[in-house]
């Protein structure tokens, strides 16, 4: 479980807090999506939870960040990363660059943490099957497309088996099928008890898979609730966050006076069908 209480952070050599008053909890087996405009501090927040800030990058961190009640910043980095797996935004940089096959690349973190070889073989094979990348195992990590590389990057973190996963835009290079598969895997992991905090712009996938969505704006969590409540909130655009295409269509119809302004906006295709059918019948 991740718990952030009144977290504030200022980069080294500055007094300005880029994050201020962050309160956020991710329970065991829960998926929480964080949305927000580019540059709002999502990556910084990811690094705080993963224990890199302030341990590695410095700066001033106030408030408390705990993982399973242990303050993450009090742990040496090696212990912090055993608790929290971090998938970074750019898969090119998640790849170690030191391994000549995808198979060895996925095993890199396990080698570093002293996992016995037999266990490594099993875990690499399992995670490759999970992400459907078995056919890539003998290829060079640098001979992959952006999407394939992103799947390998995700596999290389999932294989570590940490109880908490922080994923910074893990589907940025994936096609719709690949993105959906990653979210299905996230659901499978949370079913097994992993807590997942995911920073993502693809709100339709968050709507489907997240238990809650938190909106990060102006350095704070300005709103958090169920995906439906957040994605139909009229303030979403003012925070530079997109809503689903179904919500946008219904809102446009509502604003044009074509539908009942009191009716709850839809967030999915089936919702949308029901919404417009009901609205047409009511006219």
């Amino acid at each position: 479980m991740i718990e952030l209480r009144d977290v504030a952070y200022a980069y080294p050599d500055t007094d300005r807090y880029v994050l201020d008053g962050i309160d956020l909890t991710v329970a065991r087996g829960e998926v929480v999506g964080v949305v927000g405009a580019s540059g709002v501090g999502k990556t910084t927040l990811a690094k705080i939870i993963a224990g890199f800030i302030p341990n590695v990058e410095g700066g001033t961190l106030d408030g408390s960040v705990t993982v399973d009640t242990v303050p993450i910043s009090s742990l040496p980095l090696a212990e912090a990363v055993a608790q929290v797996g971090l998938v970074i935004q750019n898969p090119f940089n998640q790849i170690s660059g030191a391994k000549f096959t995808v198979r060895e690349e996925i095993a890199f973190g396990l080698e570093n943490t002293g996992v016995p070889r037999e266990e490594m073989i099993t875990r690499v094979s399992d995670v490759a099957k999970l992400l459907r990348i078995e056919h890539l195992l003998d290829r060079s990590p640098y001979a992959l497309s952006g999407g394939q590389m992103q799947l390998v990057a995700i596999a290389s973190v999932i294989v570590m088996g940490t109880p908490v996963l922080v994923m910074d835009e893990p589907t940025s290079q994936l096609d719709p099928g690949g993105s959906r598969m990653v979210f299905d895997i996230i659901s499978a992991l949370t079913d097994a008890g992993t807590s997942v905090l995911i920073f993502e712009h693809k709100v339709e996938l968050l709507r489907e898979h997240a238990d809650r969505i938190a909106v990060l704006a102006d350095g704070r969590i300005v709103h958090q609730d169920t995906p439906r409540a957040v994605l139909t909130d009229d303030r979403l655009e003012s925070w530079s966050v997109g809503s689903t295409r179904y919500t946008r269509a219904a809102r446009a119809a509502r604003d044009a006076g074509l539908t009942n302004p009191e009716a709850a906006l839809p967030v999915s295709l089936s919702d949308s069908t029901d919404y417009f059918t009901t609205q047409r019948a009511g006219r």
């Binding site: 090119f92 170690s96 943490t113 070889r117």
Partner: protein
């Protein structure tokens, strides 16, 4: 694009433990430079390097690479030492101030054969040894995993950055960058490439170090190996033997036996 010369084939030489090949290469280099007799180097080339290249199926590539690397060096060596060797007394031919002497040619042969042995041995090692296996073997022999990472990642990342430079170049060309004209103009035109590439590299290094730490790179745990490289007793003995020969040759050389 790759920075390694490795050719993935199935052969006895390929199957040798990479450390055995590395030790053999280093020992041979020590031997040919310690034993200052030209035919020792030539003998090693003819009876060790060439058969190894043929057996491993890398003979053609070795020939092509060695011609590119060695021919210019050998030509310059023969011309300089053959024509202008100051201690040469047995003159074979004269061209004005330049004299072709037996001593000069023998000196060129001695140096040239040693350089050839060094280059050819190194090439056979590179052509027949998977760099990843070499690094794994060295780590299993006690080399720091961090050192292994530095070497392996350098080999891998250079082509990746080359690809990135090409992408930046294409993007700049799409925005009107012209790469035609005289060399000075072309060099100037490449300046817009430097800033995004170098700044991008700094960002990459920072991000990559975060990603590596997130995968336990600094973990105090004893590192394990996903790939196990076979190291049979016979090869261990062979390594000690060849090291013993190299050490003996250095000792004998210091005692002046080869003069």
């Amino acid at each position: 694009m790759t920075t390694t010369l490795y050719e993935d084939r199935e052969s006895v030489i390929h199957r040798l433990n990479p450390v055995t090949k590395l030790v053999a290469m280093l020992s041979i280099i020590i031997i040919v430079f310690a034993v200052q007799i030209w035919w020792v180097a030539l003998g090693i080339i003819v009876f060790v390097v060439v058969p190894a290249a043929v057996v491993s199926g890398t003979g053609g590539r070795l020939l092509s690479l060695s011609l590119k690397l060695l021919l210019p060096i050998l030509i310059v060596l023969v011309l300089l030492q053959g024509l202008f060797f100051p201690e040469g007394t047995t003159v074979l031919a004269e061209f004005g101030p330049a004299r072709v002497t037996v001593e000069g040619l023998m000196f060129a042969l001695g140096i040239g054969s040693r350089i050839a042995a060094l280059v050819l041995c190194s090439l056979v090692l590179l052509l027949t040894t998977n760099p990843a296996l070499l690094m794994t073997s060295l780590t299993q022999k006690g080399m720091s995993p961090k050192m292994s990472y530095v070497i392996s990642s350098t080999l891998q990342i250079i082509p990746a950055f080359h690809t990135r430079a090409q992408s930046i170049l294409l993007a700049q060309q799409a925005r009107g960058l012209r790469l035609k004209g005289n060399p000075l103009r072309r060099a100037g035109a490449l300046l817009p490439l430097v800033s995004p590439l170098v700044l991008g590299m700094f960002t990459d290094v920072e991000e990559r170090s975060t990603a590596m730490e997130a995968r336990g790179f600094s973990s105090p745990a004893t590192h394990t190996s996903f790939v196990i490289v076979d190291d049979p007793l016979g090869q261990k003995i062979a390594r000690w033997l060849i090291v013993a020969i190299a050490v003996t040759s250095v000792v004998l050389s210091l005692l002046g036996v080869f003069k």
